[in-house]
Subunit: 362 residues, 2 copies
DNA sequence: TTGTACGCGTTATCAC
DNA sequence: GTGATAACGCGTACAA
């Protein structure tokens, strides 16, 4: 039974009511009698009619789509956020369009295309470092928010909405923590040399801490990922640690710039017969749920993932609402007014999660 | 600078060419002179025009949308598949619409709505147990494939496309493996009592193995998750194991029906001072990447995740293509012809990944 | 309160 | 090879 194409016209005919009235019934207009509405609803239910979104979008110029562009979907840290984005979208009656951006692609480029194609209401840039060429970003008509992105410089981001942590500061705190625990030679497992995203910020934080403690950075202890795409993987953590151990360099602590890296690291140390934490302390970054269950459990800097994801969506939704209001007022479109944007800039704080992988000598 | 709305009409005016010709240029029609095409492209590039998808969809009745409905997004096993779905979609020029289905919701219900709303070209049901009320499924006009779903009964699924493993068989193999390793009292960490999905199948496999080995199932060793939503979590694995240990029941092996559960289990045993594998063997199910890096590394049944995800997409795309051809032929719509569907039914095999968490006494 | 008629941006069909 | 025009399904100004 080839399901006959069900349009609002059909429903109108079937219920003996005009198209416009049916439309009003569907959209809960105020000027419609309860009785008519009921009748329409009946027919709709009976035939399982669902409005054609394309037509609706065309007319309303509102597709109720929110896109999440994620760079490095391999990082479990991001996938846990996805859950919340998805929940928040559906609860606000938006659809979530998920788009993975290759390591080499420019997120803004992809966003620009997607925006028009899908009539996006809003965009979440998750991870990466959206090249801050304001020209490209200005092309975006939809509001957008950077989530968990490398805020290299508050000033550079002054005109943008973002939700993140201060990667530099937190990484410095992590390294400070290791020093406080009595570690002297701290290695770092970090991103590749070309990285301009959170990876490089966390490295900076590490270096800052070193300087503060009067230590010279030792290039033998700075382990850089070979491949940009595979930075935040267990495998990378394993390899980097193996290389470090084999290099013969001396170290009594390792700072892995992500938990996923730390997990590989722990295993590598174990395979080398190096005990954690008695011989080497390991500390991660992110606060993945799994860290608690590892053996040894992972000391890490916990990011408030859920709160961050929620804050991002809240900011985005607020910006969308504001945009809608502006358009209703007929006030000039333009970009986000600078004075307002501050409301949508949030730097969350991490918290050190002290667990077994880090020895404390004090 | 409120970006002026760019339509094909504008482009036509701007380039001094008619709308229809511009349209042809955009869509690479054959009957268009290279020269005109070039000129059009120039203007398009200059102004950054992107066609309005809603209008296009409305006309073509093809939104190029593929939806993935996932039940239990918490399971990392699924998120790793998501990556591949996403990749496969974009490479075939589809958009991926991600929709999370609550534990209590009916997937087919959600699909039916989404299908019309978004003019879906295809649907992937990921996980869960889409209630096989053929009535509801028949309402779906778009092709769909069940991925990693509980194929309770081949006959029941005979009319549907699916890609899965034989959960019952594989779980039986896992349990057999434990017996072969010399274990005698094998506990299982499984889903809640109401579960009718992969959880119950894996339990069945376990029971089958027991029977085969002449063992009576011991209810003290069957640890059921308390909450359906949180079954496949580390926390659940931890709690169930704790409860098991505290119950005083004797056991020398634990079969966790997912790796995520096993991870919590390993930690709980450790916290109870029970050594793995010398005192208790633990084996997981799924073959998550992380299992290799755990301490002890996790013996598990590895599912060919990537292949399964790819096969699902391939099946779906093939079905979509077939559907399109049918429509072109004008042949009767209807559901998938039963004779053909077999091509889209695949049961993959798992492989035992022997690692440290399981002791072998032979 | 309800119905008629038009237009949203695009592509396909037809003339030329 | 190109241009005019009618749809696609819906929401809404306007008329009734």
């Amino acid at each position: 039974m080839a399901a006959k194409k069900l349009t609002i016209k059909e429903i109108a005919k079937l219920s003996g009511i005009s198209v416009s009235t049916v439309s009003r019934a569907i959209n809960n207009h105020y000027d419609i009698s309860p009785e008519t509405k009921r009748r329409v609803q009946e027919v709709i239910d009976k035939y399982g009619y669902v409005p054609n979104n394309s037509a609706r979008n065309l007319k309303l110029n509102d597709a109720r789509n929110i896109a999440v562009l994620v760079k490095g979907i391999t990082n479990p840290f991001f996938t846990s956020m996805l859950r919340i984005f998805e929940r928040e979208c559906t609860s606000h009656n938006y659809s979530l369009v998920l788009e993975h951006v290759e390591e080499t692609q420019d997120m803004t480029e992809v966003a620009a295309l997607l925006e028009k194609e899908k009539r996006l209401n809003g965009i979440v840039f998750l991870g990466g470092n959206p090249v801050l060429s304001s020209k490209r970003l200005k092309r975006l008509a939809a509001p957008y928010v950077f989530c968990s992105v490398a805020v290299t410089d508050r000033k550079k981001f002054s005109r943008y909405a973002y939700v993140s942590i201060d990667d530099r500061k937190e990484a410095e705190a992590v390294t400070d923590y290791l020093f406080a625990c009595g570690r002297k030679r701290i290695a770092i497992l970090c991103a590749d040399r070309q990285d301009i995203s959170i990876g490089s910020l966390r490295l900076e934080g590490y270096l800052n801490s070193l300087k503060k403690h009067g230590m010279e950075p030792d290039s033998a202890l700075i382990c850089r990922s070979k491949s940009a795409e595979r930075t935040y993987t267990h495998e990378n953590g394993y390899q980097l640690t193996m290389d470090l151990v084999r290099s013969g360099a001396e170290f009594d602590a390792i700072f892995a710039i992500s938990d996923s890296i730390a997990i590989g690291c722990l295993r590598a140390l174990r395979d080398c017969g190096i005990d954690v934490p008695s011989q080497v302390s390991v500390v991660g970054f992110d606060g993945l749920d799994i860290g608690r269950y590892l053996v040894p459990s992972l000391t890490t800097l916990k990011q408030p993932v859920d709160e961050m994801a929620e804050a991002s969506m809240q900011a985005l939704l607020a910006m969308i609402a504001q945009r809608d209001r502006q358009e209703a007022d007929g006030s000039a479109g333009g970009s986000n007014p600078v004075e307002e944007i501050g409301k949508y800039q949030q730097i969350f704080s991490g918290t050190m999660q002290e667990r077994e992988s880090c020895r404390k000598d004090y």
